[in-house]
């Protein structure tokens, strides 16, 4: 059928499935801890996670059917009111992503995806404070191998 959601959105649901975030609920302000958004980061709450799709990496084609193999790039950005909370949340997400190995399926609407793994998971990158909001930012980047099922 092919993917019907962006790698960023799939990663968003993976983070929720791994227990590292929650699905945002309306109205804003009534969210549970660490809501996860994709791709737009709202102004509230202070503590939130936003996932975006980035450039991936191709890995050639399989033999003999010529299927393209590749990994999708994702960036997970954590915003927080306190620096420690943001760093620890980002580190916990990083560690949780490392546990994914053919053992995670996420469902978005009527479509399910099998996550092979998160690869090339980078270190937690502290970005300092966002100039406009003075809240702390941390990111971690990874490559995702996924297939719709």
């Amino acid at each position: 059928m092919g993917m019907q959601h962006s790698p960023g959105n799939i990663t968003r649901y993976a983070i929720i499935a791994l227990g590292q975030g929650t699905l945002p609920v309306l109205p804003p302000g009534t969210n549970l801890a660490w809501p996860v958004y994709c791709p737009t980061e709202p102004d509230r709450p202070d503590n939130c996670i936003t996932v975006r799709t980035t450039a991936g990496r191709g890995s050639g084609r399989t033999s003999p059917d010529g299927e393209s193999i590749g990994h999708y790039g994702v960036q997970i950005r954590v915003r927080s009111a306190e620096e420690d909370a943001g760093y620890l949340k980002t580190e916990n997400i990083r560690l949780a992503l490392e546990t994914v190995h053919l053992n995670l399926t996420v469902t978005i609407g009527a479509v399910s995806y099998k996550l092979w793994c998160f690869a090339n998971i980078g270190d937690v990158l502290p970005l300092g404070k966002a100039p406009e909001s003075k809240r702390f930012l941390h990111t971690v980047n990874a490559l995702l191998s996924v297939r719709d099922i």
Binding site: E41, R52, T54, A55, G56, R57, G73, Q75, R77, L125, L127, G128, L137, T139, N141
Partner: protein
């Protein structure tokens, strides 16, 4: 049947050449303190350039970088020299994507041998 001789000798010579610089690594980066913020901020719009100005070419050109290293070693370079060549190629590709305002960020690009 045709027979090729001397292959083992070539392999041994290449292995010996690689052993000399075994463990070498090269860093490509930007020295400006705000470089990482600009690199990671996918929300910003840049009239010139884009975020992920290092990560994107590193992923897109990964095969090319490997090819540069392999070709250089085959032509007689040591592994550190070959890695530096690949690093300089990546630096150039990155500088074509880096956001430009005053030029300070673009000018702060570097490539160096780490060890």
């Amino acid at each position: 049947m045709a027979k090729i001789t001397g292959v083992e000798a070539v392999r041994a010579a290449l292995r010996a050449r690689l052993k000399k610089g075994f463990g070498a690594s090269v860093i490509v980066g930007y020295t400006q303190a705000y470089a990482i913020y600009v690199h990671e901020n996918l929300e910003a719009h840049h009239p010139v350039g884009q975020a992920k100005f290092l990560e994107q070419p590193a992923r897109e050109e990964a095969d090319k970088l490997g090819e540069i290293v392999a070709t250089a070693v085959k032509k007689g370079s040591t592994l550190p020299e070959a890695l530096l060549l690949a690093g300089l190629y990546l630096q150039r590709a990155s500088q074509l994507l880096v956001p430009v305002d005053t030029g300070a960020l673009k000018g702060s690009a570097f490539t160096r041998l780490e060890k």
